[in-house]
């Protein structure tokens, strides 16, 4: 028996574990990966103050802090099912069944696939996989790659690949089909990039430095977009081209690119082949909420948060007794926001375990989530604040309906 169980050892789960342990709780953290950190592990970028954000170091620091406080960890442990029985949450893993009265789901996010002809060839991977190979395992995914899908995440990872000495031949779009959404539409993609630049500091503005701020954004704004693309950190970004096929005999040998018009349609006869030994697919992130769905949480689709999100309060409670959420399962945001949410969840769990005088701390912690969001360096969605309000409204409506019944 533990006072609390946390599923997910990313920034949210680790911070929640530390907070619980600081309040004297006996907690255990489960993660299907073999080490702590979650998506934080892959992150490596320069912050506006010139300091480097190193996800691996950040993960180790949080993990060590938790271990020092007596938090237990089970790595390589996937949770296949959870259910509520006799006022307890029962957690099924491959090897054991655990029980707790307080369960935190900090399962993070997963990458959306973008099917492209040839995407089943060896050498095609998600952009997050390329990031983990490069930054965590220190293995080059290849010598020369093409990234399909242009968004904040793929641009940041393209830069990381370059830092590791991997050539990125092109950042480009997938061809439009029914399985692609806005990610194949040049105008939509451009708009989202421009939103990014309007918002707080962004990786485009900062990492691409003067070039991005001046030349790149001007070109994008004024002349829609040059056919041959522009370059960011020497990586060609091609919003006017789309990958129509990934080719290769037994593995990736290259991609066929074609010019597309502003509606996203292919201009016939413009096909050209680009050699590459690996291809990354970047469809963006969505909240990984399978366990919340199984548990029976009500959901709401909030595009600004990246997809279907379980209803939750600012205290990080779900509508179910003793079930909490924190981090990207509540919407796609950066690691610092996830950690701040983890802190709130940890305090809520402590309060639910009978630890007194936490109300003010919880209010402060909620405020800290908002401040962190406002100062976020990477904004995954320009309207994140709007998305947060939507889910708050849904929570309030749900609570009102429950009270009336």
């Amino acid at each position: 028996m533990h006072n609390g169980i946390i599923i997910g050892a990313g920034p949210a789960g680790l911070t929640a574990a530390v907070t619980c342990a600081e309040n004297g709780l006996d907690v255990i953290v489960l993660d299907e990966y073999m080490r702590a950190g979650g998506r934080l592990l892959g992150q490596l970028y320069e912050q506006p103050d010139g300091k480097w954000w190193n996800g691996i170091k950040e993960s180790e620091r949080l993990f060590q802090q938790a271990v020092d406080l007596g938090v237990q960890f089970r790595f390589g442990t996937a949770v296949s099912n959870i259910e509520y029985l006799d006022d307890m949450w029962v957690i099924y893993t491959e090897k054991e069944v655990l029980q707790t009265s307080n369960l935190l789901l900090a399962t993070g996010a997963a990458e959306s696939p973008v099917p492209v002809p040839g995407w089943t060839l060896p050498g095609v991977m998600s952009v997050g996989a390329a990031q983990v190979m490069t930054n965590v395992h220190r293995v080059k995914p290849g010598e020369r790659g093409v990234i399909i899908g242009i968004n904040v995440l793929s641009a940041a990872i393209a830069m990381e690949l370059q830092l590791a000495g991997v050539e990125v031949a092109s950042l480009t779009l997938p061809r439009m089909s029914e399985v692609t959404d806005v990610e194949a539409h040049p105008k939509e993609v451009m708009d989202s990039l421009l939103h990014v630049s309007h918002m707080a500091p962004s990786p485009f503005v900062k990492l691409g430095s003067k070039f991005m701020k001046g030349d790149f954004m001007k070109k994008m704004g004024a002349a829609f977009y040059p056919k041959n693309g522009v370059k960011m950190w020497d990586i060609p970004i091609q919003l006017r081209k789309a990958v129509i096929e990934i080719y290769g005999e037994n593995q990736v040998e290259g991609v066929t690119l074609a010019t597309i018009n502003s509606k996203g349609d292919v201009v016939p006869g413009t096909e050209e082949n680009i050699a590459a030994d690996f291809v990354c697919i970047a469809g963006g992130l969505y909240p990984l909420a399978e366990l919340a769905a199984i548990a029976g949480c009500p959901f709401y689709l909030v595009e600004e948060l990246g997809g279907y999100v379980p209803l939750h309060s600012e205290e990080m409670e779900t509508t179910l007794d003793g079930l909490y959420v924190a981090g990207n399962i509540t919407g796609i945001e950066g690691a610092k926001v996830a950690a701040a949410q983890g802190h709130v969840a940890g305090l809520s769990i402590a309060r639910n375990n009978g630890i007194r005088s936490l109300d003010y701390k919880i209010m402060d912690a909620i405020q800290h989530v908002k401040t962190t969001r406002d100062h976020a360096y990477i904004q995954f969605h320009p309207q994140i604040q709007k998305g947060r309000s939507k889910i708050q409204d849904q929570w309030n409506t749900y609570q009102r309906n429950v009270q009336e019944v």
Binding site: S80, T120, E178, A293
Partner: protein
């Protein structure tokens, strides 16, 4: 490779054409599309193709329901060996 031959569900080897044809023929929801083609019902539990199957199906629907996840999640959400399920540990 033609766009139509593109595999959407790797586990069950369901192509884009299979899904499109089925959708057009039966005018079906994401769930029905899954059941008719087996897309998303293989070893990985739909963790790769789920959103693609959902998108193909929902392009027919007028408006997405905001409070219902189109394809239901069911345990186990990760692959579990028969031995572990049956409790016959060795």
């Amino acid at each position: 490779m033609q766009k139509n031959n593109m595999i959407i569900c790797r586990c069950e080897e369901v192509t884009y054409a299979d899904l499109k044809k089925t959708k057009e023929k039966y005018n079906c929801t994401a769930r029905e599309l899954k059941l008719r083609t087996r897309a998303g019902m293989g070893y990985c539990g739909g963790r790769t193709c789920r959103s693609a199957v959902d998108k193909i199906a929902s392009s027919l629907e007028k408006q997405k329901e905001k409070d219902i996840i189109p394809l239901k999640y069911q345990p186990p959400v990760r692959p579990v060996s028969f031995a572990d399920l049956g409790g016959e540990h060795k």
